[in-house]
């Protein structure tokens, strides 16, 4: 906060539309309009409806818990914040990051009316939110690794079901069965987790297309599980054999692998996200493949698409300024450039942790096309 000259950060939320950061701030499941305030000295104050004063105290996270009654949140808000004499107040507004954009239009109006007379500039808390939520401590990295290990185990088990005559739907259902058996959660919406694409059906956030798997098909799975609140996100690519791998498939695979490796070789703190994307993207188009229509990679953690710098192209209408942000230590990224040919789309998505001068593999990179069948 001092770096950004922010005097206090207010998360202002209520029941029915909880701020996405509420859990990170131990401020989830509140009922009435409530404010979680962190000041420049990292003192934490909660202003909540009086019936919840005791519950928030019991969470033992806030230095001060203040209840209000039928007068509403406004007077206590004004009183607490006036005392802090803020010049810059961070609020949860963000163009690019949904999870840092929790302040609704109505709640912003309420807050600013309550604080009328306090001469302060309002700024986005986006970077504070990224620091709070996306940068992981070692205990959290261990949970991501566990989520990855569970995901990889399921991938290994699922290989036997990808064979001629089976449907993409069978693969989807088998993986669902394994997830339920293991009592795991899905890393994203279960209606397209996994996504199973056989042959040259298009890529997308879809469960399956109803295709039958044939010998010679290129098959790609996109899948992840959540373990104790932390996500994995991996893709694997298969060829249905026994068959001689066509030269076109080999080239597609090698181009994808090389694109991943070029991105990884350059991945380290301080580099803007778009530069990493550009390197992989350029390699792919130079080999004569079309440009992929998404970002090279995203932050992974408490959610699959976590907030933070995007390893993506500078398409301001789609990605805003997220690709301009620089890579930071302790972020986990997916690396997932796509190479599309008439055989399908190859994408060797892997998960890596940013270290002080580079990255560390968290998942096992796919270095060869897996022959199944």
């Amino acid at each position: 906060m001092k770096q950004q000259e922010i005097d206090l950060w207010i998360t202002f939320t209520r029941e029915g539309n909880e701020d996405p950061l509420a859990q990170d701030l131990r401020f989830d499941n509140i009922t009435w309009r409530s404010a979680a305030i962190i000041d420049r000295n990292l003192e934490k104050t909660a202003i909540v409806g009086s019936l919840e004063e005791e519950a928030i105290k019991q969470r033992d996270f806030y230095d001060q818990v203040i209840g209000y009654g039928s007068e509403g949140a406004s007077p206590k808000l004004k009183q607490v914040i006036s005392r802090l004499h803020p010049k810059r107040i961070a609020i949860n507004k963000s163009q690019d990051e949904g999870a840092a954009d929790g302040l609704t239009s109505t709640m912003e109006q309420y807050l600013k009316k309550a604080l009328k007379g306090i001469k302060a500039e309002y700024v986005s808390a986006e970077d504070l939110a990224i620091a709070l939520r996306a940068r992981l401590i070692p205990e959290e990295v261990a949970l991501v690794k566990k989520a990855i290990a569970e995901c990889e185990k399921i991938y290994d088990e699922a290989e036997k079901i990808i064979r001629p005559g089976k449907k993409d739907r069978d693969v989807f259902q088998y993986i669902h069965q394994l997830v339920e058996q293991k009592n795991l959660e899905y890393a994203w919406a279960s209606d397209h987790c996994p996504s199973v694409v056989a042959g040259n059906s298009p890529a997308g956030h879809v469960a399956y297309y109803g295709d039958t798997i044939h010998k010679g098909d290129f098959v790609r799975l996109d899948f992840g599980v959540k373990y104790q609140g932390y996500c994995s996100d991996i893709q694997r690519n298969y060829i249905v054999g026994p068959t001689t791998i066509p030269a076109g498939v080999k080239k597609m695979f090698q181009t994808a692998r090389k694109a991943n490796d070029i991105a990884l070789d350059n991945l380290k703190p301080g580099i803007p996200g778009y530069k990493i994307d550009q390197l992989a993207r350029n390699h792919i188009t130079k080999q004569g493949y079309p440009e992929y229509k998404h970002a090279l990679g995203h932050v992974l953690g408490r959610s699959t698409h976590e907030i933070g710098p995007l390893l993506g192209p500078r398409w301001p209408n789609r990605y805003g300024t997220a690709p301009l942000k620089t890579v930071q230590k302790d972020l986990v990224f997916t690396i997932e450039p796509s190479v599309t040919s008439r055989y399908g789309t190859c994408n060797l998505e892997q998960d890596v942790l940013i270290t002080s001068n580079g990255y560390r593999d968290l998942s096992k990179p796919q270095t060869e096309l897996i022959m199944v069948g």
Copy 2:
């Protein structure tokens, strides 16, 4: 929509901070800025990122699904909405209802910029949201009844654990054990569901206070479970015996029962929520008890505190205009006035369904103090 002269309703949302109505609109788990548009003829159009076009089509809910690419959501939004020539556009902004207040300040700005040049008035979609989400069809009422039945079973089983020498925490933990065994979900945050209050500890959204239960104690539980997405919310009140019930406890109980009954006798479509609250509140204060510091009741359904008219006092700073809204058929309400004395707080919370000319019990009303121990 015609009643309110609304030409179209836009729910504009994205990943990371999903609109609370997204699930109701089959619009959950989308990634990029996406709009769910319902026009005056109830034609439904979805505008989504191109990678999600197929997935939304597969949900088979929207008459039209339009994908966009790197140009962002803005051009398609303008194009689709211009064609509809709207005069009044409803958006998800609401002073009183969190779940109808999903539009963030940043997203509102984006939307209005995209629609610049379209001369329309923006109004709150609050009443549309209530109709969509809070009014229940018979199949949904059946699920609420099932949630109530499961809740009541757990209450019955838990009676044996409320006895002298046990702690409030033991009761809390025993109920948690039953919920887990039965593979049910909690109707609200598990850290205060149930809420167990022994003796005259204060009421509030709290799990327990760490009290030991003694003979003669008045004990109150507030508890609910969720069944297939629908909630129950019930309170029961006990006296720890064997003991002769003190006259003061008897009077407290009878006053609470009578307050419930007065409220119920007057509950029917068309009556403003505050009038129901007032009747119960006046009865309690006339008997010499303090005014309760909350609302008499709230809508129950997909969530425990569901959107809709509030059976609450006209405290505008706390409850806004929700108590001015009128009771509607097909809403489920809790009825829960509190009577506080030196023995504790008595609250006979029950759940009822509004019919065309009154109400129907969904839960079993508590008509006598339960003696345990």
